[in-house]
C-alpha cells in the first residue's frame, strides 16, 4: 500500500480564530475596545480590574472567566459595575466561542471597554485569541522575579505587563532588573507598569494606558 500525502498547512486553532474574528467584528461595530487579562491565580486580576473601574469615566463591561463559582462577578457587581460570568467547567482557558456566546446576550452596546478576565493560568490561555484588541499580562511580586523565564510565551504576547503587589517588593527577595531582563528577552515593546491595589500605586498609569489604546 502506497501512502498518499495531503498537504494541509492548517492552523489547529483555525476554528477558534474564526470565532475570534467574529467577536472582533462585533466589538468594532459597537466601538468597544476589549482587553484580555491573563495571569496566574491570585496575581490580583480582579482587584486590578476593580481598581481601574473606579478610575475609568466610561461604561465598562467585565466578563469573568473561572472554572467554577461566580465570586468575581459578585465582587464586581457589589461595587456597582456590570459583569457576566463564564464557568468553563474544567477547561483551563477561555475560548473565542465562549466570548461570542456570552456577547450574544448583551443588548446594551454603549460600553466603551470590555475587560475579559481569563482563567488564572500562565500557560493555557496564551495561544487562544478571544477577539480582544489587547492582551494584558499581570505578574505579582510574591510569584517571584523568574516568571518571564519560566513562562516566556505568555509574556511574549503581552501588549502591557503589570507588575502587581509592588508594595511587597523587597530588593533582597525580588530583583526587578532580572524580571525586566526576562521580559525584554521575549518582548521588547510592552511597557511594564508597577501597580499596587493596596497603595493605589500605578493604577492611574494603567488607566492612562487603557485610555491611550481605546478605539
Amino acid at each position: 500500500m502506497k501512502p498518499m500525502q495531503i498537504k494541509l498547512n492548517k492552523d489547529i486553532l483555525s476554528k477558534n480564530n474564526l470565532n475570534a474574528q467574529e467577536v472582533r467584528q462585533f466589538l468594532a461595530a459597537w466601538r468597544i475596545t476589549a482587553f484580555n487579562i491573563m495571569a496566574s491565580p491570585g496575581a490580583g486580576k480582579t482587584s486590578l480590574i476593580l481598581g481601574a473601574l473606579k478610575l475609568i469615566k466610561h461604561q465598562v463591561l467585565v466578563i469573568e472567566g473561572d472554572i467554577a463559582s461566580s465570586i468575581d462577578t459578585q465582587k464586581i457587581k457589589e461595587n456597582g459595575f456590570d459583569a457576566l460570568q463564564i464557568n468553563t467547567g474544567g477547561s483551563c482557558h477561555l475560548t473565542a466561542s465562549m466570548i461570542k456566546n456570552i456577547l450574544s446576550e448583551v443588548k446594551d452596546h454603549t460600553y466603551k471597554l470590555l475587560f475579559i478576565e481569563n482563567v488564572g493560568n500562565l500557560v493555557c490561555p496564551a495561544p487562544y485569541d478571544l477577539g480582544e484588541n489587547y492582551k494584558i499580562i499581570i505578574s505579582s511580586v510574591p510569584e517571584g522575579d523568574d516568571k518571564p523565564y519560566k513562562y516566556p510565551k505568555i509574556f511574549s504576547v503581552a501588549d502591557v505587563i503589570l507588575l502587581n503587589k509592588i508594595d511587597l517588593i523587597n530588593p533582597n527577595d525580588y530583583n526587578y532588573e532580572y524580571f525586566e531582563k526576562g521580559i525584554r528577552a521575549v518582548n521588547i515593546r510592552a511597557p511594564i507598569i508597577r501597580t499596587s491595589c493596596k497603595t493605589g500605586e500605578g493604577l492611574q498609569e494603567w488607566v492612562n494606558w487603557l485610555y491611550h489604546n481605546l478605539n
Binding site: M1, Q5, N9, K10, D11, L13, S14, V123, C124, P127
Partner: protein, 114 residues
C-alpha cells in the same frame, strides 16, 4: 491541559480532511513559543483517537524555533537585542515560533491496496 482541546481539534480536522479514510501518518509543526507540550499532545491524541481516521496513525512533529523576521530584509534571524543584523532596524514581533499547524496527513491509498 489545553492539549486535550487541541487534540480534539486535530482529530476533527484530520477526520474531515481525510474524508474518514485511515491516516497512516500525521505531520505537525509546533512552534517553540506555542505554549504546547508535544508529549502531552501525543498522549491525548493516542488516548482519544479511537474510532477516528487518526486511530493508530504515526505522529511526527517538527519544533519550529522562535526567530524574528525583518520585514525590510525578509530574513529570519535570532538575536538577543531585537536588532536586524543586516539593516539595523529594531524588530518588535516574532516571525516564527508560534506555529501550531497540521502540515500534512498521509493516507493509505486503498486503490493501490492489491
Amino acid at each position: 491541559m489545553h492539549e486535550l482541546s487541541l487534540a480534539r481539534e486535530i482529530i476533527e480536522i484530520c477526520h474531515r480532511e481525510s474524508t474518514g479514510k485511515k491516516i497512516k501518518q500525521l505531520n505537525l509543526r509546533i512552534g517553540e513559543f506555542s505554549s504546547v507540550s508535544p508529549e502531552s499532545l501525543l498522549f491525548y491524541l493516542d488516548n482519544i483517537s479511537q474510532n477516528s481516521s487518526l486511530e493508530g496513525a504515526k505522529i511526527h512533529y517538527e519544533i519550529i524555533e522562535a526567530s524574528l523576521l525583518c520585514d525590510k530584509c525578509g530574513v529570519y534571524f535570532k538575536t538577543d537585542d531585537w536588532i536586524c543584523p543586516f539593516c539595523g532596524k529594531t524588530i518588535t514581533e516574532y516571525g516564527a515560533g508560534r506555529e501550531l499547524e497540521i502540515e500534512s496527513i498521509e493516507l493509505i491509498d486503498e486503490t493501490d491496496a492489491n
